[in-house]
Each structure stands twice: as C-alpha cells, then as structure tokens.
C-alpha cells in the first residue's frame, strides 16, 4: 500500500460510553482527497459503525461540518494534503451536544433559526396577477453576501459566546435575519427587531469575530450582527427622541 495518513476520530456510543473516546484509523493518503473522503474510506473498509453526516461533498449542503485539528471545517473542503504527514484529529462540532461519534444535535440551532423569521414578511401580500416584487441589482447586492449561508453551523462552533451561553441566538441565525432585513422586498424588520434586540439576541455578541473567519461562504456574520446593533441603537434613539413616531 502506498502512503497512509492517520485519522484520530472521536467515537461516542451513548449506550456504551460514559464520554467520548478517540480511535485512530489508517487511511490511504492521496493529495486530492479531503477529510470526508478519508472518513468514507474508514466507513467503507474499516469500521462501518462510524457515524457522521455528509451529503453533497461540494460545500453546498452544509452537513459535513466537524472540528479538524480543533478548527471548525467543512470536511468536504478540507484537504488531507494541508495536514499530511501528521495525523488529523477529527471531532464533532464544538459546543453542540454529541449524539453519536461525529454527529451533533442541532435542533437548538434550527429552533433559533426559525425564531428569527428568515423569510420575506409583507404587511400586505400582493395579488399574483399584480406581478412579482421587482428588485434592482443594487438592491440584490445589499444582502446577497448574507444569503450565501448554508446553515453548516461552523460559526456556532467558532463562537465562544455560544459555548458559554447556549441561549445566545448565534451568528448564522442573526446574519440570516439581517439578510431579510436588508432585502428591499421585505417589511418584517420591526418584527425581527423585537426578537433580536433582546439580551440573548444581538447584544449577546461581544464581537470576537471568529464566526466570520471560519465561514466557508464568506458570509461575515460578525459584520451582520454589528450592523444590526447599529440599527437597533438608532431605532432606540429615535424612539427616545420621537416617542410619538410610530414605526
């Protein structure tokens, strides 16, 4: 056999283990292989019981996020060549409860995501025969960056605030709320502000900035949250100076 690389994989079987343990596997090393390829090799050839999530293997579905040598990564976009010949440590995404091996429990994130109403809210829906909601390229440009989020949760695994306070709404959910706030077709900003201007919302963020660094889609959640804080502060001043002006 040609060159190999060692994978130090976190295993956790809730029925048998009190806490996770590390199992080392030997996978073939190929320069064009990503960490996910090596995990698939382990599952196919060495140990079929290894559990992890993956789907598209091309950075679109956001399923295969794991900690690779302590950094949150999409394993489908993380090449073995960047770590070889040293062993690679693969762990489940940090701060999330572990269900099995590398599989984390994500319903907390899904509940938060739903909570910020990430869809277009209209005060009054247009009738279909009145046509579509038009948008200029400039208006699209205003929010497009934030719409690239694939819900991979790497930003949550990078955020120490989320680790210390699991009630924090977190980077991706706030960035997606901002994505709809900045959409010219949306009229739900005030509704979302009520949810997000609470303590566990935008103000929980202390701007560590790690969420933006790890984002595989260059979404910049940290920027979105600071922009949100700015508009929340402006809104607060406006309501202070002009209490009669209903939003």
């Amino acid at each position: 056999m040609a060159e190999t690389i060692q994978l130090e994989v976190t295993r956790y079987a809730p029925e048998a283990d009190a806490e996770p343990r590390v199992q080392t596997f030997e996978a073939p090393y190929r320069p064009d292989w990503v960490v996910l390829d090596a995990l698939n090799y382990v599952k196919d050839k060495l140990d079929g019981s290894l559990s992890y999530r993956w789907s598209c293997r091309m950075g679109i579905c956001g399923s295969c996020g794991m900690m690779v040598n302590g950094e949150p990564k999409l394993t489908c976009a993380t090449f073995l060549a960047d770590y070889a010949p040293k062993p690679i440590r693969v762990e489940p995404l940090r701060y999330f409860p572990v269900v099995h091996d590398l599989v984390i429990e994500m319903s907390d994130f899904l509940r938060k995501l739903e909570g910020v109403k990430p869809w277009i809210i209209r005060k009054e829906e247009k009738l279909i025969r009145e046509g579509e909601y038009l948008q200029t390229p400039e208006q699209l440009d205003a929010y497009k960056q934030f719409s690239m989020c694939i819900n991979c949760m790497l930003c949550y695994a990078a955020c120490p605030v989320y680790g210390l306070d699991p009630l924090f709404t977190g980077p991706a959910a706030i960035a997606l709320a901002q994505r709809y706030n900045m959409d010219s077709r949306d009229q739900g900003a005030a509704e979302r502000m009520g949810i997000l201007s609470q303590h566990d919302g935008i103000w929980g963020c202390t701007f560590v900035g790690e969420c933006t660094k790890v984002c595989p889609k260059n979404v910049d959640p940290a920027g979105a949250i600071q922009q949100y804080k700015l508009s929340a502060a402006k809104e607060w001043f406006r309501s202070l100076l002009m209490p009669w002006g209903a939003r």
Partner: protein, 144 residues
Amino acid sequence: MNSGEMRGAPVYTEFHPRWYRKRVSTYWWLWKWSYLRFVLREISSVFVAWFVMVVLALIAGLSRGPEAYSAWQEWMRHPAVIAVNGVSFFFVLVHAVTWFNLAPRAMVMRVGGKGLPDAVIAGANYLAWAIVSAILGWLVLRAG
C-alpha cells in the same frame, strides 16, 4: 445527571436523551491567539475606565481649590501611578485602534449603489480622531 451537562441549557429533543455535552473550560481564551487578543481588547475597557477616574479626580481637585489640585498633581507624580498610566495608555491605544479597525464591519456606507471600501471608512474614523486630538491638544497646550 452527567457532569458535562450545563445548567440553563436549552431543551433538546427526546430522541437522544443521552447526548454528551462538554463544559467549556474557564481558560477557553487561551486556546487561540485570536481569542486572547479578543479578551485583551475587552480588558482594555478597564483601563479606559481608569482614565475616566483620573479625569474625575482632576476635576474634583480643581473644584476644591489649589491645595486639592496640587495633591492630585503630587499623586500623579507617584511612580506607581505613572506606571499604571503607562500601561493604561497602551491599552487605551489598543482599544481605540481595534475599535476603528472594526468600524467598517458595522458601518456599511453606500454611495451611488456601491459600498465604500473599508479603508475609506476606517480612514475617516482615524482622521476624525486625529482632528479631535489636535483640537484638544491645542486647547490644553495653549493654556500651558
């Protein structure tokens, strides 16, 4: 109850009752240089507060008359206070510089449909800082 469980954690689904959750170490900020840098930036606020106290003490001294004022000056000459002020000045600079560098992330200015480059927004902040400092410096030094 396993020891890894956190108090106040959200409720998770009933399907995985034995999930494992690791408690975050108190020393998480030592894991990475970027975390440590963040914590230093947060700590810099303590030194900003220290300078506020110094100015308040100065105003209190001025309002209570020449004796109180020279007592404040005497206090400022103490080597320990000079040392604290030196460290504070460094942290206040860190505070200001990181603040201005982060400004473009929070302020998105659009001119003619295009977003202004980060350097322009940060530069404008630095320029405003320099102008305000120059005016204050002129006011203070002119009196002296």
